[in-house]
Symmetry: C2
Subunit: 386 residues, 2 copies
């Protein structure tokens, strides 16, 4: 397998982007990435998207998006694993370049989520849960993650303040990110007093519904060196799954799919969590960030909440998590999220993060963890600056 790296990244506008359709959002991110990377040619496109079919009645994105990039003919692949679709697109681009089949591949992600009512969006997102055994009976994701939060609180004593600390930290980071949907700070008090969605989760524990796209250019280290571009190397890649229905799991307080994905990625990289300087983790709900930070081996079970509360995962903490603002503040266009995590890691590792947002101490190795459903699938990557 060849050494693979990322040489350029691009984002579309993120938020409630009423004046842009799915194809516009994707084209904006794709052309931005092409321009940043300075490439004049692609060999193929992998696009992550969860549910363009339900959201906007459009499947067949491989044809649509290559067409609107002005590249009809380009081999295109759409991949889906619910909210982990973007991470999966990046993994498959990595494999295609590593295999030698292609030299220059775009991994992108997109979701257009606001061309429907909130109820319809909730229904579309629920397609990531078990339709027959969860959704049919009324379960939606806030409810499923609320059960995980209650279980975590009962087993480990995780508190309201610990959950709030995650949201406050991520908004503090996102406030400095020009790409964020909600670039403002919030207080512990605001989180605790915000509208209750599914006890114990308030609305400020939840990531928002977002329109947006992200794209990165993947190539070999040899080509990147010849081009003289800043690049970050892909050291490891892993995917894991778990039962789709939460009720089938042995333990609701841990994300086994993330553990499998992280173990696989670390094994490929020849690294451990101790070698990693910071991470983008999948904080679709505040409890998710806490559970994942434990599941990947960063903290002992039950210590993720206290660590967040103590500021260990802040921008200037011992292990910053979600310097981008995370899904919570930056937004969560589900198919794009996993690719946007790579965008953030690229910016941080190459020293291109915006003012006030750069992680101190010149970090060298980063990790991304993207997750589908209530943890039914997860994708992890380990990346290193050259």
């Amino acid at each position: 397998m060849r050494e693979v790296c990322v040489i350029g990244v691009g984002m579309s506008k993120w938020g409630e982007v009423w004046r842009m359709s799915l194809r516009d959002l994707h084209t904006q991110a794709a052309l931005n990435a092409i321009e940043k990377a300075g490439v004049d040619h692609l060999d193929s496109l992998y696009v992550g998207c969860m549910s363009s079919g339900i959201f906007v009645g459009q499947e067949h994105l491989a044809s649509l998006l290559t067409d609107y990039m002005g590249m009809p003919g380009l081999p295109g692949m759409r991949v889906e694993s619910a909210c982990a679709s973007g991470g999966l697109a990046f993994r498959l681009a990595f494999i295609e370049v590593a295999s030698g089949i292609s030299d220059m591949v775009m991994a992108s992600g997109v979701e257009k989520m606001t061309d429907c009512s909130g109820e319809e969006a909730t229904q579309a997102l629920a397609a990531a849960a078990d339709q027959e055994n969860e959704v049919f009976h009324g379960a939606t994701f806030p409810g499923l993650y609320a059960m995980m939060a209650h279980a975590h609180m009962a087993k480990y004593g995780t508190t309201r303040d610990m959950l709030s600390a995650v949201a406050v930290k991520n908004h503090s980071n996102g406030a400095k990110n020009p790409d964020a949907q909600y670039p403002f700070e919030i207080s512990m008090d605001q989180v605790a007093k915000s509208v209750m969605i599914a006890d114990p989760l308030h609305i400020l524990d939840c990531s928002p519904i977002t329109d947006g796209a992200a794209a990165v250019i993947v190539t070999t280290v040899d080509i990147a060196k010849k081009m003289g571009k800043p690049y970050i190397k892909v050291l490891g890649s892993g995917v894991g799954t778990d039962t789709i229905a939460l009720a089938q799991r042995e333990d609701m307080t841990t994300i086994k799919a993330a553990t499998i994905a992280a173990d696989t990625a670390f094994k490929m990289a020849g690294k451990t969590i101790k070698d990693v300087n910071f991470a983008e983790l999948h904080d679709c709900f505040t409890i998710a960030e806490i559970a994942v930070s434990e599941s990947i081996g960063l903290f002992e079970p039950g210590q993720g909440g206290p660590a967040a509360l103590a500021g260990e995962t802040a921008l200037d903490g011992s292990f910053p998590i979600n310097s981008s603002g995370g899904l919570k503040s930056k937004g969560h266009p589900v198919g794009a999220t996993g690719v946007a995590q790579i965008v953030e890691v690229y910016k941080q590792l190459t020293g291109q993060a915006e003012k006030g947002r750069q992680i101190p101490g010149s970090p060298k190795i980063a990790m991304t963890q993207n997750m589908g459903g209530s943890g039914g699938s997860s994708v992890v990557h380990i990346l290193e600056v050259a």
Copy 2:
């Protein structure tokens, strides 16, 4: 890149399978393939599915299907390129094994299409066309392919009888296939007198709506040899796209995405169409088989129709097409079709096709061509028996 092959195949029941859900159909095909291949372990799953979101409200198949195969934890990837989703799943399984990342990968496809009304199914399938510029204005696939047929007739003099000959031949083959949804013969007269759908296409020019799944096991040639299983080698793989909207094409009578995919696959294989003994082509409509047989270089433009009428593509012709019965008679559960093409080629090349269906003359090399939308994407594979 390592040498890659197929060592086992499996099918679910195909048809209007009211008593099985999407997960049941997939599990049946997957377990059949595992049993036939005699493997006790998988490294990952690639599943092709076009629109489980719209059809049955279920995305996140990577988690659902690995779970229901009894393998929660297994890395899973769902890929989509409309009706070419299955071909794409096979391609990505091939790349993952070729790259050295995995040794034993399942490529599968599934679609559950009859848990909704005919209108809803037409709407779901239309998501493969350009939502904004085709579907919004009322176009559906029978209409789009009817325009291609009219253009082909006007440019090349293709006739009603030539279209009918494709349907008659495919039903003649499908009548001998126990997996076929419509395993019976039809006459030229029956096709021409069947209900008009979109002039000039009658209902017997159209492939049906089908529930079904298919699965194959992909591994290295080295492992297949050690296992002592019959296998077929993957010589070449190609993907191409084209504009999603039919109106944007220079020429409606040819499928450029198929030409690109075939050229790429032949180049990788170091072969030409003259080396190929038979093919499974994407006959979603009779005109599609004719246009594709020209687009891949088998016949000169305009000669696909006369060749079909002359019996050149029959089971005992010079170049048999769709010995399985094709989409027309075997059925077309869209995400599964591309994988079922590999199933048929495996059976034919290893001499395991059912009685009366085996292509004479011990064929050595076969081709599969899978297609999305009105030709917006296509996937081609070249396979050889060891």
